[in-house]
Amino acid sequence: MINKDAQSILEYFKSLLNDLRVRAVPPENISDDDTFLEVEQTIKTIRAASAALGNGNLSHDIKGKGYVLGAMKSLQASLRNLTWITKTIASGDFSQRVHFLGDFSDAFNSMAEKLESSIHELEEARSHFEMVFQTIPDATVITKIADGTLMAYNRAFMEATKFSDDDLTVGSFNICDLYIERSQRETFIKKLETDGFVENLEFSFYGKENDKHIGLVSSKIIIIEGIPHTLSVIRDITELKVIEAKLKQSEERHRLLADNAEDVIWTMDLEGRFSYISPSVEKLRGYTVEEVMVQSQEEVLCPESLIHMQEGLARAIRSVQNDLPFQVFRGELEQPCKDGTTVWTEATVSGIYSEDGRFIGMLGVSRDISERKLMEEEIRRLSITDKLTQSFNRLKLDETLEQQFEWSKTNLSSFSIIILDIDHFKLVNDTYGHQVGDRVLIELVAVLNENVRSLDVVGRWGGKSF
């Protein structure tokens, strides 16, 4: 049992230690006691200090001395030191470490090391991105999606637009001002919002001197500090477009010529397949372009012409394989027609080369030479035919003799010649006239032709000799 005052003091200290609001009061007769006052002050200081530390208030001044207050000051000192170390780490100095705080030291130091390595990794990634960003050969920009504010650009962008660093103030320059048509910006944003990316979208934009450019933009959404941005790579295709237009124009012109030419113009790849045939082929052979495109070489050329053509092309291709120019092939070829007849054409075939000088195919022009062939045949016929009797003339007989001699020598065989002359033919001419004489000669040839074998040759040697 303790007395009432002691009980009252204990109640008071208990309340000081445990209650949020201290309602207990010390007995009046002890309130001036020095020891009581010292203990009361220490408990009040502990109470205030622990409340302050509990609330994270490290600037609270812990007044007083003694073991418990000393330990609290030590705790406060450690927390203040941790705060300072954390601030130095936050400012980028990762060399600070915590020691002599048990497991906390290890945990904190591991965190600092991890943070340092993560920051280094991030720095490396940032530096790598910066390097890639700057060395991309195409114009590349980062802009805010919301308003088009330019946040970053690379050298290629400056070269493409002719803007300088002074012109392109990051944070105020607006990429929207470069669009020639605002609607293209709207289409771009809409597509970006729908798909999350844009690929090769064509748009027109101004350069610094209001020069117009055409670009292909590819973009992705990236988030920077919580704000959506676009990372856009723009390929300037202005020059390409001009070349493309010229090429198209040139191609159309050539196609027009090819399509309307009398000659058949065709191209063939290295595998021997047609890659183009002009429509005039239908007039030449009766087959449509589509039909010819799928025809084999045997269907395109008569057998002898096919051999001739293949030999010629083989020679030409061998030249190419030996790093020599394609040997232009020229040849007369007989081609089958849809109606079963054939047509003679003169083909000129030359090589097609790519821009880098590679042999990639053949270009051919086939001209109808049927009439010329007929004329040549007629000339040939006339050159070996006796005008009066329509039998072979002396020229043909000489040729035939030559051939027979050769054949005879080769085959060790003999052949026979009949040379006949009409006796007293002058009397017929003198008696009945030359017209009758001519008729006699014609009749004689007819008689001879009727009485020789199909292999035998009948010709007029000259005058009245056969």
């Binding site: 000393g70 000051k73 030590s74 000192a77 203040r80 030191n81 300072w84 060399s95 020691h99």
Partner: protein, 172 residues
Amino acid sequence: MERKYEFSWDLLGDIGAGRPNLGNVTRVEVYRLMQFTFRDIIEKHVGVQETDEIFYEAGKLAGSAFYQHMITKNDDLNNFVNQLKAVMRELGMGILRVEQADMEKGELTLTVSEDLDCSGLPEQGYEICTYDEGFISALLENFSGKPFIVKEIDCWCTGDRTCRFSAKAVNP
């Protein structure tokens, strides 16, 4: 005044050569025995205040020599603190911690735990680390180029568990 005992770092001698068997380590009691006997005799000769001033000044001389020989000159506070922490720990001088540092204002609060001078001493009711005060002020002056006044505000001898020093630049 003709000097007999002018300090130089060389006076610390070649300890490796001189103590091949006992080495470079002694016990803290030996250090304290010498310091407190010095303090006793000096106090008897010149009084309390002057004794404190002598210890503060001796600390400054030690701190300055220590900085010149043990710290690599660097303008960065964090680097300086790191070096100092490491060397104090290595030499068993104490565990240095920075609570607060504002070099622009020239204000720092440092603590030294397990201090060589006073940790574990019986409670005296007064701060005793005057030597440390001078030592720290010289370190800060050598680092920053500005003179500092350092005052111990908490000490083992006053019942605390760590020595806390408040440093203020004379001309921030």
